[in-house]
């Protein structure tokens, strides 16, 4: 059994689109058999939690210029429903690499 995957969901407000996409991310990871949890933040919140070193994957709907050394996935398609399969694939690909 793999450990719980921690996802940071980032948007401009840290509450609205990040909550909408983190719902979908959790569904994808859980239906693929992973244990997962998400935290919703804005970019400055992301800076803070990145320092804790406790994030496995970043999904974002706002630009994130900084390289946190953590896999980043643009999840805006989860809002519009366009390209959802591609985003889901990327999420599962990253999930596979988490030990």
């Amino acid at each position: 059994m793999s450990r719980r995957i921690k996802v940071a969901s980032v948007c401009g407000s840290g509450t609205v689109s990040s909550s909408m996409v983190s719902q979908k991310i959790m569904d994808i990871l859980k239906s693929a058999g992973y244990q997962a949890e998400a935290v919703e933040v804005n970019p400055s919140g992301m800076d803070m939690i990145a320092e804790s070193g406790d994030v496995d994957m970043i999904c974002h709907t706002c630009p994130l210029k900084k390289d946190y050394g953590i896999p980043k996935i643009n999840a805006t398609g989860f809002l519009t429903g366009i390209g959802e399969d591609t985003i889901a694939e990327k999420i599962l690909e990253v999930a596979k690499t988490i030990k």
Binding site: S13, V16, M20, H60, P63, T76, T80, I82
Partner: protein
Amino acid sequence: MSILNDELILTNVSVNDTNEFFEYMSKILLNLDLVEPTYFENIKEREVSFPTGLKGTSIAVAIPHTNAEHVKTNAIGVVVLDHPIQFMEMGSEDVVLDVEIVFPMIVKNPKEHIGILSKMMGLVQDEVSLKEIKKSNSKEEIKEIVNKFLE
């Protein structure tokens, strides 16, 4: 009552860029007393940091919004542009979209924001409705189309 504001349904709007668009929109919103005087500066800055362009399957739209403190109420507008203007795509730093319809989102209560945004996404995904809005010159018709998604 729908959150869609009749006075914010605008067609054949001719502006050349986002700056002109926000100037135009801010004046209308201020006159209607829907936003704070800080709205104009804030919406411009926020669009740069957190772009709101969204590509539909054939029509690109944008859903510009500010944080709650710069607005006075909840309202959604529909602005059909005479010719497309460029918005950056949400979540990206370099993907430019030729936006044809803008849906300004004025949201005072953050708790309602998720619900409103989800409903608007239904519309963004519906190419048939977007095309109808684009070619329509009737406020009533546009109102009817958009309200189907907001109910």
